[in-house]
Symmetry: C2
Subunit: 331 residues, 2 copies
């Protein structure tokens, strides 16, 4: 069985607006530090008028993950909704230029909403605080899912943030059904602890019924099972899926499969901008397991990729990850 895609990602398509600020700016602007908060267009306009000079780069959590897999030479596609506007063109270009197939219904120029954007504010400690105007990407529907494309995926990768869209649960269900019917596998990232608190039951149902590989970080793991014992939380989540991969910042990651588990330490690096760390982790992990790596090796690759992306401003790796893997004895 040879499929066209190693991984097909589905998520919020958006362009990041990256700017630096200090902690006082965050509190003055009423921004909760370190998390993703949803904002409407008036708030986006107001906040944008207050931030300093910025740079624009394509983002979107699952899209960043797909970009990593494509940069490593994996076969990928991405489904997410942009408008036929300048930011939409930027988003589509950057994925295609990285080698990913980008296919989705394009919202027309006349659509009321615009392409989504995320005002990412980076504080001197490297933490990022995200302010997301979803725009048209909120309205990803089952019609945007092509079952034939999902059937060509070894893995699909679903972005937890997308649970904030009204029709996305149905879209995800359609994608899962099409993928599993063709013997493909399903991975999911929990994305954000506050996103989990908004959609915990829906996450739980999906994990139990249809997820083979679950990605999350420590805070998300604890939020998902509503406990404060990290080891117990991992055990509880690991029992629900085939593979569990949990990141724990500078402590690296924990991988679980059945009775086996591995703690894979990370090499400490200076954090310039944490944006995209989890996305790069998932991308390198998925690339690893679809290219013959065992789980702890995939965990090492994932740590290296995450460590690379946090050493510069911007959510997608700038370094040559293939070369980095070689330097670390991983390829």
């Amino acid at each position: 069985m040879s499929k066209q895609f190693n991984v097909v990602g589905i998520g919020n398509a958006m362009v990041d607006i990256l700017a630096r600020c200090d902690d006082a700016f965050l509190s003055d602007a009423g921004i909760e530090k370190g998390i993703m908060q949803l904002i409407d267009m008036p708030r986006a306009i107001d906040l944008y008028s207050k931030i300093g000079p910025a740079q624009e780069v394509s983002g979107g959590s699952a899209a960043n993950t797909i970009a990593v897999i494509a940069a490593l030479g994996g076969d990928t596609a991405y489904v997410g909704k942009v408008k036929d506007d300048q930011l939409g063109a930027i988003f589509a270009h950057d994925l295609r230029a990285q080698g990913a197939v980008y296919e989705t219904a394009l919202a027309p120029k006349t659509a009321e909403d615009e392409t989504g954007r995320c005002i990412v504010l980076v504080t001197p400690d490297g933490e990022r605080s995200m302010n997301t105007y979803l725009g048209v990407t909120e309205f990803l529907t089952p019609d945007d899912i092509d079952p034939a494309q999902m059937a060509e995926a070894e893995w699909i990768y679903l972005e937890g943030y997308r649970f904030d869209g009204p029709d996305s649960h149905a879209a995800f269900a359609k994608a899962i059904e099409a993928t599993r019917s063709a013997h493909g596998k399903v991975s999911l990232t929990l994305s954000d602890p506050f996103c989990i608190s908004r959609h915990r039951d829906a996450f739980r149902d999906m994990i139990r019924d249809g997820v083979d590989l679950l990605f999350c970080n420590k805070a998300e793991a604890l939020s998902m099972v509503q406990r404060d014992d990290f080891e117990a939380a991992r055990a509880e989540l690991a029992a629900e899926v085939d593979i569990l991969a949990v990141t724990d910042s500078e402590n690296g990651c924990f991988i679980h499969q059945g009775d086996q588990s591995w703690h894979v330490p990370a090499t400490p690096v200076e954090i310039v901008d944490a944006t995209g760390a989890g996305d790069a982790f998932a991308g390198a992990f998925l690339w690893g397991i679809t290219h013959g790596a065992d789980l702890p090796t995939a965990g090492k690759m994932a740590n290296v990729a995450a460590g690379s992306v946090i050493q510069h401003i911007g959510p997608r790796p700038e370094a040559n990850l293939t070369a980095l893997f070689k330097e670390n004895g991983l390829a």
Copy 2:
């Protein structure tokens, strides 16, 4: 006499699309290395489809210069034309966020052309090759010049690239007249040797009649006077203006005023991306002379600012220039 602005800049308003490539890509795509070439929208779309993942940052030569002066705490305004589209909003935001006053007639959403953009391709040697779709900024007219604003400028700063616009010569003439009538001074940058070859006579007339301070690099100086003796070229240009400031890459700069001249060496730095070096030079020089620096000191500041901007991707300084000046004993 206290005026509202240290410097008012007039130039091509555009957003830079920055991507890396190798020399083979440039020749395959028919791009002349190291210069600015004008392209139309079909060429912009075709070229964009071929380049790798990119980042978008506000650019425009005179706008970069104004951003430097504003970042140093100078009082500035900028005149240049964008459309009421997403790239136009990005351009205006980044100048205002830097503290510059941005005022110009905004081309409406219904305008046929879009906000200008420049596809900047950076090769491994740090050289940048620019492909400019002017868009609405081509149509800056005398109506866009507010004489009252020019009268409030100690200096106006005119971008040579703007000579490519049909009505811009008249717009520049109007700005010069309003500035000089109010005892303000006029600075001009020659911008590009190929731009000079397209408009040499117009440049010459303006320099003789109305320019107090002329900025150029070595190639532009030679092209302007059509000689190949650098010292003679400087002498010829210096005779036409009050102050001449000529950059010579890693050799620093030459400043001329009347019978006096100074060679100000630069500290060697690693070149990551040469984009914006000349713009930063002019900005720091103008900030210096409007804040009490003598000419050789302003030249040192200008060298430091240019050296800072070429050490990263992007056309505007990311470092704290005020702190850099202090480190170099310049403030």
